[in-house]
């Protein structure tokens, strides 16, 4: 077991801090605690106590966006400030923490009604999800948006059964956009990663427009059928309670196709140039759906937590060239951090094939702490 001994030192440093929209630049004073762990490992994190990270994060989020969201007392659940919205289908997503701004950051008009936050990289429990469902049910039913992990699926399903016993209409969709994992009906199947954010956006728009539970579910399933992602990592991340990296990479190595919890990838290689990495990821993504000449897509370059925006734009430069060469038209591009993996350096690429309906829903306005579109 790893035991935390007392903080070695505290240093007051000034660091620039951008909010999620880069609309203002704050200078805040932060104290960095350097924890010492048995076994000589050091974890440098801006935290107070590994056991309180989720609650303190959620409270800080509510303090920052009181007009948008509130926290359900006694639960790690963030709901729209005006929940439940009468007559509107409620959208509930969630998962382990550590993927911020997913999922609570996408709670707001035009996207989710609730985000349920489990412990870091651990599915939330059914009682928490059930509270979220009850809090956002406006009478038109609730859609559960689940990323395809064994724990998430079971916990959300149990919550759904609990809600149905109380007479709430519940439907669910399971997102599995990660092409790195081979698909098979006999195994757990593909993981849900950044493509999930497109499901939030499009199902959210459909619900906001007054769609029924069946229609909202259909829109979500259309996204799932047409979205593909793949990621790569330059460095692993450290789960606060564990205090050590989820995997190790040598200075000159990178991991291709790993999951957002540091699950093993498809390939570990010497580090390559950005263009070569993008070529590899794009070749897997393009041939999987497959995306074809004449298609129109939305692109998401998603930073995993410690990747500079500069590098994300460098990736997108190559992505856009590859799409052009393949005769694929870009309708919209999203660049930034949507589905992170704590402080992991790396990024994922997501492509969503659009038709007229998906385009309209993607273009619809959304106003949430981490996703705003006019």
């Amino acid at each position: 077991m790893i035991k935390i001994t007392k903080p070695r030192d505290k240093k007051g440093i000034k660091m620039p801090f951008f909010d999620w929209h880069d609309s203002c630049l704050l200078i805040i004073n932060v104290n960095i605690d350097v924890y010492h762990f048995e076994g000589g490992l050091e974890m440098k994190k801006l935290i107070n106590n590994p056991e309180h990270v989720v609650e303190e994060m959620l409270e800080g989020m509510v303090a920052a966006f009181p007009g948008y969201v509130r926290k359900l007392e006694g639960f790690n659940v963030i709901v729209r400030a005006d929940a439940p919205v009468k007559g509107k289908v409620g959208l509930v997503s969630g998962g382990g923490s550590g993927h911020e701004p997913s999922h609570a950051g996408f709670v707001g008009r035009g996207m989710l009604d609730a985000g349920v936050a489990g412990a870091v990289f651990t599915s939330p429990t059914p009682d928490q999800i059930f509270e979220a469902v009850k809090a956002v049910d406006g009478g038109a039913g609730v859609l559960l948006i689940i990323k395809n992990y064994t724990g998430d699926v079971m916990n959300f399903e149990m919550a759904g059964e609990m809600a149905e016993m109380e007479g709430i209409k519940v439907a669910k969709v399971v997102v599995n956009d990660d092409v790195a994992v081979e698909n098979s009906t006999y195994t757990t199947g593909r993981r849900g990663i950044a493509g999930t954010v497109f499901v939030h956006k499009i199902a959210g728009a459909k619900a906001q427009a007054g769609g029924t539970l069946e229609e909202v579910k259909e829109a979500a399933e259309k996204v799932i059928a047409n979205v593909r992602s793949m990621g790569m990592a330059l460095t692993p991340c450290v789960v606060p309670a564990a205090g050590k990296p989820t995997f190790t990479l040598a200075e000159d190595e990178m991991e291709i196709g790993m999951g957002i919890h540091g699950e093993p990838g498809t390939m570990r290689t010497k580090i390559m140039k950005a263009d070569e990495i993008v070529e590899h990821l794009m070749s897997k993504i393009l041939k999987d759906l497959p995306f074809k000449s004449g298609d129109e897509v939305a692109v998401m370059i998603n930073g995993l937590g410690a990747t500079p925006i500069m590098e994300q734009f460098i990736m997108n430069n190559k992505v856009s060239k590859i799409l052009k060469e393949n005769g694929i038209k870009v309708h919209r591009t999203y660049i930034g951090e949507y589905m992170t993996s704590l402080e992991m350096a790396g990024a994922s690429i997501t492509l969503l094939k659009l038709d007229k309906e998906l385009k309209e829903l993607l273009d619809a306005p959304a106003d949430t702490p981490a996703f705003r579109q006019l």
Partner: protein, 212 residues
């Protein structure tokens, strides 16, 4: 061979102690093929179970098992929470309203626990899960339920569970995070099959002790 609600609580205390004693061991097993939290989460859950069992008086054995299930579901998290939680809740339904349990009830409890895990996990034998240790044990209990030598039946069931744990070393994981490893999961014993065996071991030992 029968027990009342107080005896059932004693059996469950033994199960909880066993999990707590093996916290590090289970976590270590999980770090090889999962996300290194099975022992931590199970121990957290069973500590909460002990607190719940000691905070109120029970007369109904079904209610005890249901309470254990609900507590595990809300405290363990991950996949183990819903799986073991469903197992105990189903077991509770099997003996709902009973103030004492006999050997047939014990078999019904184990059988429904297995059914609950199969339903929740949509898994079957040979996929490197809890079922690989639980199902062989339940089969022996059911097949030999009319035997008069119950201690020997329980020993055989426990042995079958142990062999099930060993068997998980030889197969590829097809469920849960370990399944992403594909063939690399071979050679490692499944943490869930192991925790299930340990729980069964503690329960059977206590039952044998209590029946003298």
């Amino acid at each position: 061979m029968s027990t009342d609600a107080a005896g059932l609580v004693k059996i469950l205390e033994a199960v909880a102690d066993k999990i707590n004693e093996n916290r590090e061991f289970l976590t270590e097993l999980d770090s090889a093929i999962g996300d290194a939290d099975h022992g931590i989460n199970m121990s957290k859950g069973f500590s909460a179970v002990l607190e719940k069992l000691h905070s109120q008086e029970f007369g109904d054995c079904g209610a005890i098992l249901k309470t254990v299930g609900m507590t595990l579901v809300s405290t363990v998290g991950g996949a183990s929470g819903p799986l073991y939680g469903t197992a105990f809740m189903r077991a509770g339904q099997a003996v709902a309203g009973k103030s004492s349990l006999n050997f047939d009830d014990f078999i019904a409890i184990m059988d429904q626990a297995l059914e609950g895990i199969k339903y929740r996990g949509k898994a079957q034998r040979g996929e490197k899960t809890i079922i690989d240790s639980l199902e062989p044990a339940v089969e022996i209990l059911k097949n030999e339920k009319d035997s008069t030598d119950r201690k020997s039946v329980m020993n055989k069931a426990l042995n079958a569970a142990k062999e099930g744990v060993e068997y998980t070393r030889s197969i590829i994981a097809k469920k849960g995070r370990a399944s992403y490893l594909g063939e690399r999961s071979i050679g490692h014993q499944d943490p869930g099959a192991t925790s299930c065996y340990l729980m069964l071991q503690a329960a059977i030992q206590k039952i044998k002790e209590m029946s003298g």
